[in-house]
Subunit: 223 residues, 2 copies
DNA sequence: CTATAAATTTAGACAGGTCTAAAAATAAGT
DNA sequence: ACTTATTTTTAGACCTGTCTAAATTTATAG
């Protein structure tokens, strides 16, 4: 249908516009895709030609409905494969992302549908991200960055917004993962690092950078 | 490592040299890959440059050991994925080949190894083809074409050498698959079609073209 | 051995994608 | 408003892989 490259551009634009209403910039895409902005400019022209994006030169881009459908479908496949790799093949959540980056481009309706069924129609991937439905709906979870939450409130870790191997391995070492209960005990003003207690036990010291990449909700159990 | 295209050429050369000692010709590759012979010539020059094939202009090609390793590894992945698609996802043997054509290019050592383990280290794919080992050994099954076997001998179907959807669906309709026991009752001299009895029951009429693509061995039970 | 046919390779063009360097447009600073 | 800095786009080149048409080599048939 589309080339792998086109798909990667559409996915990048989707991810960059996911959490804000602003137009996506050429440089932002170049940085995410580790390519040059001149290459991005070129590709934007082509994608606009195919009506996959709205593009005004020098002004940035947004996805058209057609472009959004393509992007969401890729993300659906990416996350379904990640569930498979972790749940069925027993691979670690820190190593599956690069594999899913390639598997996501394979496009057979029956394969996706069967994979979904085999996994029991999962709602979230191993990093806590929502799996878009076959019709392209994405449930936007209302979790917040740990770095923006309040002291002394029972919290539940529901997502990780940095999928690099290094970061996920670090969380493993800390014994911190999806479903971990935690309370912020103290926030250091000078570097915004924090002390937290996990699962009513061990106390950890998390840098602001780490806390920014952990998503949490206020724990149900206290309501 | 290599591009998908290079991999497809190496696989094609492997398949064409699998059952004969002769050099593989440019035209044979072009036909298998549904491309033009001028494109093949070009690619052969590049593959020889990378020492993946032995190539003498106008004389045909053979794989080097390095080239063979690449080809066999692709085939290993192709067949492992086919087992997964049929055994775990419940897809039909007639529809998995195009999917495996794409999955075979995804190359992560740990993924292959885990997939192999998940499937219980299968020896054959859903079409009866042997799955190469991780170290590149391929057990060459000594089955023969049904079209070349003798009358009145108990036979066992062990492989299918045509993976097209149309052919496999036809076999499904005939109730003929891997593991089917059969005896050749009669061979019509004028068109070499044959009457066979399967599983000691139904009698079928198979064209020579069909019989050529069914692989069988003399059934153990009679020895 | 020579003429023709078949197979193969080369030449030249093109499409998709990337890069560097240069030009153009927009944003920022005073 | 004017000048400078930043962002973005264009120009020109290159790489991979494909094609058609033409040239070359090898095979086949008298
Ligand atoms: Mn991922
Ligand atoms: Mn994920
Ligand atoms: Mn196959
Ligand atoms: Mn097969």
């Amino acid at each position: 249908m589309h080339t792998y490259t086109e798909e990667n551009y559409l996915k990048a634009i989707y991810k960059l516009s996911e959490h804000s209403e602003e137009e996506v910039t050429t440089n932002a895409i170049a940085e995410l895709l580790e390519t040059k902005s001149s290459s991005v400019s070129d590709m934007l022209r082509k994608l606009a030609e195919k009506d996959l994006i709205h593009y005004t030169k020098y002004r940035g881009v947004t996805l058209t409905e057609a472009g959004r459908q393509v992007a969401v479908r890729i993300i659906r496949k990416h996350r379904l494969w990640e569930v498979f790799l972790v749940e069925k093949l027993g691979l670690g959540w820190e190593e599956v992302h690069p594999m899913a980056e390639e598997l996501e481009h394979i496009d057979f309706e029956r394969l996706i549908e069967r994979l979904d069924a085999f996994m029991g129609y999962p709602k979230r991937d191993p990093h806590g991200d929502p799996i878009p439905s076959a019709s392209g709906e994405v449930e936007m979870p209302r979790s917040c960055k740990l770095s923006e939450m309040n002291l002394a409130t029972p919290l539940l870790v529901t997502g990780i917004s940095n999928h690099t191997t290094a970061f996920l391995q670090y969380l493993d070492k800390l014994d911190l993962g999806l479903g971990t209960k935690l309370v912020i005990d103290e926030i250091m003003p000078f570097d915004r690092s924090m002390l937290v207690t996990i699962n009513q036990g061990k106390q950890l010291h998390l840098s602001h950078e780490v806390a920014k990449n952990i998503l949490a909700v206020v724990s149900e159990s206290q309501r």
